[in-house]
Structures are given as C-alpha cells and as structure tokens.
Amino acid sequence: MPGKKKVAEKQRQRPLETPRIADEVARLPAVVPPVAYPIETLVPEARQQTPAVGQRAQRVDGRMHGLGQTQYIDDLAFPGMLHARIKRAGIASARIVRIDTSAAEAMPGVMAVLTGRDIPVNSFGPSLQDQPVLAAERVCHAGDGVAAVAAVTEQIAQDALDRVKVEYEPLPAVLDPLAAMREDAPKVHPAGNIYATKVIRKGDLERGFAESDRVFEGRYRTQMVEHAALEPHAAIAAWDPNGRVTVWCTIGRITLARADLARTLKIPMNRIRMIGTIVGGNFGGKNEITQEPVLALLSKKTGRPVKGVYTRGEEFTATTTRHPFIMDYRTGVTKDGRILARKVRLVLDGGAYCSWSETTLGKAAILAAGPYQIANVLVEAHVVYTNKTMTGAMRGFGAPQVCFAYESQMDEIAQALGLDPLEIRLRNAFVEGSLSPTGQVLHSVVVRESLLQAAQRFGWKGARS
C-alpha cells in the first residue's frame, strides 16, 4: 500500500521539521542540471580498446565531475543531521585551566558539547601518538581544538563556540626550529624538542673532501606551505542503535583511519565503517583522522548524524602543512665536476605534533644527496617540535625541499667550474646498477635519459655563466 507508506514516512520525519530542514535544503548544490539519462555522448573509444594498458582512457569519474554531479561530503545530507564546529585555542602555548561549556549548552539549537575529557583515548598519530583529538590540558599550537559543538545549524554551532569559555595559563612558546634545539628552549612536549634523527653514512667523508679540488658550501631554506585542496577536510558520522558507527570522510587512507578511530573511541574495528568519498584534493593533507572521533562522539551523544566541514581558516591552522627545512650542504668536487663527497645537515620544523614527520625526515635524508653517484656521503637530519601548526605529509615528503638545495648547489658548482648545468648532471647522474646513499643497488634508472630527453625537447643550449 504505497499511500499508507507515504503517510508513515511523513510521520516518521515530522519530529525533524525544524529550521534545520530549510537549512539543509539551502545547503544543497545550487544548480543541479536537468539531465535525462542516458546522456548521448560519443563513447570514448579508448575505454573500449584492448589491450587496456597504455590507453588514454577517460576517467571513470570525469563525467560526474563535468556535470557537477559528483557528491562531495558537503553535498550529502541525512534526516535530522546536525552540524559540528570546533573551537580553536588561538594561543600557541598554554595550560588549560578550565573549560566552561554551560552557556553554550544552554543555547537553543545546541544539541551537544564535547571537550577533550569526553574522548576515551585522547591521542593519535601515525608514528608517535602525541596529538590530542581535542586539547584537554595543554595547548601546543594556536590551531589546537579545545571544544566542539553540535547544533541544528552550522551558524548556531559557530555562535555557540563563542560561549564556550576557556581559561588559559600562557606558557613560553618556541617558534624557531634552531632555537628549539637548544637545551634551554621551552619544551613543546616533555620528552624534548628533537623528536627524531636520521643518519645516512656511506664511504669515507674526510677522505672524499681531502681528495676534492674544490669544496662548496651553502645554506638553503624553505617555507611552510599549505596543501590548499579545493575540498576542505569534511566528514559525517552516524552512530546507530547497534553501536556501530558509519563515517563518510575525505581521508585518503581509510584502513589506517579506522584503526585510529577504533583506538580513540575504544571500540572494536568491526563496529566502524569508514567510507571514503570522492575527494576534492588530498596532496598528503588528508592522510589521518582529524575531526572524525569528535563527530562520532557527538553523534553518539545526540543519536543523530553529525557533519563537520572545516573552514578555509581551519585548513590552514588546524591541519598539517609542509615542513620548513634548513639545509646545510657541503660538497667536494674534482676540477672536471665529479662529486667526491657530500655532507648534508637538515633541520625540519616539525610544528606542534609529529604526524608524518618521521616519514618526511626519512625520505628527505635518503634523497638529500640527489640522484648522483657519490662515494662518500653523510646526511644528518633532525626534526624538532615548535609551537606552530603541525607539519606532515605533503606531495613529496621532503623531496621538493632537498631537491631545491641539491639542484641549486649543482648549478653553483657548474658556474664556478665553467661547466654547462646539463653536463655536470650527466657526469654525476645515477646509472643502472648505481649504489644509492643507503647502499641499495638501483634498477630501472633513467636519470640521464630524462635529462637528455628534456634538454632535446626544450632546445637546451647551455646557460649563461
């Protein structure tokens, strides 16, 4: 009986007829093009061809993107869904004396407020679990979340944040990574500011420098950078009566995210379902949980689905960024431009929490000497805490930074020796079977081929020197 079903459906939804429905409707995409299916377009031939590998096959998600019909998290809405916002500390280093949420809780439309004390296991991180989901005792950088609100509209949730009163006792902050390495520097975390060190040692460095005709030294620095993906971090959590929680999220690795969520919520993994939606850009910035435990607990508290979408400001201040590097390079070469020895010291500004810093440190150290055959190498790399936005994975894991340094110095050496920049690279580049700085035998090596191919395509005729 379809008629009866319709009535039942309506009754079921009636309690939800509040301003938030209008709010949700207003939040749906403004323009959904009227489309009759199937859309008659030319069948992209590459997708029909065999063999499949090597075909310029159109993306499977291309048509949805083109028609504006891809559903990102913010395009999803569920009946009764609440909106969450997180209050940010706004102070770089402090002890939290007390948090008063009573005024926020009393606001009409506010359904739940959460602080760090409500989180079963309030720490996470891919290698060191040094990051709180919501800071409960100590604020380590200005973007730390200190409380979260779920309300019937995003605006009410935002307004409620102002009524959460947090009392801070300011603590000394350290912002410069070199200063943070000193013994007397304020400690961001009790264990000390240098939280990981990697060393790569190959050959006899002193002998390499002694045999060199010229030695070049330089310091190179890079800045902190944001991924700036078009889609911000977003998620929806829905806790069901069986105690299972479903999370739609923008995270690029849901297997790890489920493990982190199970740990922070202290529930078994089989009670968590993570669904990765089509993501509007990741670039390394969406590789771990952020607000997901908060949304899950707010959903558990309210019995309703809860959505959280970071603002652009939070994208900058409350999520990971690219590590600023301070890089000291010392390189010994023969007169004809062969590198005999290279010593590299890297200091990474690790921000307030580890996140993917250990991976970044490791990759940067391994890659630091460049794609060159060098018999004698020493790389010493440290990552240090500062009271700044945490740094983590970003497209290249430290490689763009060290590439800037080693390739700048290659040109300096070429210029000083009167060599063409292409020529000095060809003389030193790895070949098939070369040994990497970690002693690995390299295979499928095409540095020289890529240099020659790019030079030919560009019409390279040498640089001014």
Partner: protein, 339 residues
C-alpha cells in the same frame, strides 16, 4: 627590463613507504558475461587511481577499460589498503589488482582448457577472448567461458590477492639498507622572465621529462605532471604561511596566501621517458608526488640564469628577488615613502 633565463633540475623519488610494510589487497570478480568488478580499499583523491586500477585489471583479463567496474573505499566491503599516499597506488595496489585478476583468470583458463583441448598454461586472455597461445584461431569469448565457469561448472571466477613492496630495514647507525623497492627519475627545465626593476618572475615554459615505468594511462600521467608543476610554481614563487611573534598565522586564507591560478601557469610540455620496471604491474611505477619535486629548483636556477642572483630561501617573492638584484648591482634598496 625583462631578462630571460632557463634552469634545469633533476630528481629521484621512491615509490611506497620507507621500509615499513604498506600492503594493498584487492578482489577481482568476473561476471557471467565476461565483465568484471574490482574491489579495492584505496580512495580516489582526484588523481585518477580508479581508472588506472581498472585498466590494470582489464589488461590482466584481456578486456577493455569499460569492461571493468572499480568499487573502492568502504571498510565494510573492500579489502584493506595502505592508502592514497607515497605515490604507491599504481605500483602497490596495482600489483595487488593484477595478482587478483590473474587468480580469477586462472579459473577461466581451467574451465576453457578442456573445451579448447589444451592445457590451462597454454592459454592467453586477449581481446575479450581466451585463446590458445600461438594458435589464436582456437579461442572462446571470455563471456562464454565466464558463463560456463559460474553457471555450468559452478566455479565462479573470483580472485583475491595482496602485495607489499620488498624492503630491507635501515641500520640505525649508518642508515644502510634497502628502504624502497623502486624509484622514479625526472628532469624539468624552466624558462622564466625576470623583471629586474620589480623583481617579478614569470614562468613562461616548463619541459618535464618524467619516468613512471610503463604509463598505464599516458593522459593521466600528463595530468599529474601538470598538477604537480602548478604546486611547484606556488612553492617556488608565491606560497608561504606567515606567523606573528605569538605563533599565530597571519595569512590563513586564500586572499593573502597566494596559490597559482591558471594565469600563473606556464606552457607545459610533458615527455614520458620510456621505461619498464619488472617489479611493477605491467612495468609501471608511479608518478603522483615526483611531478612537483624538481619544479622549484628549476625555476630558481632559471632566475639565477636570468639576472645572476641566487635566491636560497623560498619562495622567491618579488621583494626578495629585487633586493638581491639591487644588492648585486651595489644599489641602495629604495625605501617606500612613509604613509
């Protein structure tokens, strides 16, 4: 006056995690009509991974990209995956998908062999057919075999497999070891104009020659290179998060934190360096992250070539470039009049 310069930079970059296990698993189900469904736990983050994984499964099954549907990213339904990170999806998840597809294919071979009067190891999957290697006239349509497998013989063609890149832990003292299974290599050459009166840098052209092993989908490789270069241009010239003395960000918005737009993009020419890595799926490695690695270095070398100053601190903003030019020429840096 605008001065032109060009700069070169090359790089190497590893595929997958540093030493630690980063497996991917996949399931491939061949339907009764010879089309197939792939289950993977990876997430499409805009790079086109689902398309590439579909092509890898299609290649192993001898069908076309359109014959394969890829289901992804649901921990209730899809197998584990270490994720869309470390430029690993094509290489690691791709290998898992290839292995799973080969397992499903082995069932088809087993079913087809007695019908075609040969041993299973004499069969190939090609052009939507299961055919006898070296005697392609003798073949069956893949749909016919798949139907027979499931509906007649009661042996549905399903495969599940996982793959993890082989590594050797690094010695903590010396860092010696085999941290990665494989690496990719690339060169980018940038051509820039530098205005020596304002310090402004315009990137005119970037030629990028990238190794990715066998390109599974050359169009998507080109897309990755173009996207990577746009991030490299921002890293080189514009983007920088600034802090005040209290440790708060000064420019946490896209008005004052400048990312490159289409107007800032140079002409890009992408060359794929021919290569084949036997450890990757059909010779493929990866291309995601490396595309933005050498860009800044090439641009900064080009700036030096153009105006003879070496900027050693990124980003090379106009004020920094201008100050360096004036310092080199022994000019006093003019100060703006006080407001």
């Amino acid at each position: 006056m605008k001065r032109r310069g060009r700069g070169i930079a090359c790089m190497w970059y590893p595929i997958g995690f540093t030493v630690s296990a980063n497996p991917s698993a996949a399931t491939v189900k061949i339907n009764e009509d010879g089309t197939a469904t792939v289950l993977t736990g990876t997430v499409e983050t805009g790079q086109g991974s689902l398309t590439v994984l579909g092509q890898i499964a299609a290649e192993a099954l001898g069908v076309a990209a359109d014959d394969v549907h890829v289901v992804s990213a649901d921990t209730d339904a899809t197998p584990m995956d270490s994720g869309a990170i470390a430029s690993r999806t094509t290489y690691v998840t791709g290998n898992a998908v290839r292995l799973a597809a080969e397992q499903a294919r082995a069932i088809l071979f087993e079913i087809a062999a007695p019908v075609l009067g040969v041993r299973p190891d004499q069969l190939d999957a090609r052009d939507r057919k299961i055919e006898v290697r070296g005697y392609p006239q003798r073949s069956m349509a893949i749909g016919e075999v798949a139907y027979r497998a499931q509906v007649v013989m009661g042996q549905p063609a399903i495969g599940a497999a996982s793959w993890n890149p082989p590594t050797v832990a690094l010695d903590p003292e010396t860092g010696q070891g085999k941290p990665f299974s494989t690496y990719v290599y690339a060169t980018q050459i940038a051509e820039v104009d530098v205005d020596d009166e304002t310090g402004e840098v315009e990137v005119l052209r970037i030629v990028a020659a990238h190794d990715c092993g066998t390109p599974i989908n050359p169009m998507l490789v080109e897309g990755q290179v173009e996207g990577g270069i746009s991030m490299g241009v921002g890293f080189a010239l514009h983007e920088q998060i600034l802090f005040d003395d209290a440790g708060r960000q000064v420019n946490p918005n896209l008005t004052n934190y400048i990312v490159p737009t289409s107007l800032d993009m140079p002409e890009i020419e992408v060359d794929i360096v021919p290569n084949f890595d036997p450890s990757g799926p059909f010779g493929a490695k990866g291309v995601g992250e490396p595309t933005s690695v050498p860009t800044a270095a090439a641009i900064l070398n080009a700036i030096c070539d153009a105006v003879g100053v070496r900027i050693t601190t990124l980003p090379a903003t106009p004020d920094k470039v201008l100050a360096a030019i004036q310092e080199k020429r022994g000019q006093a840096v003019p100060r703006l009049p006080a407001a």
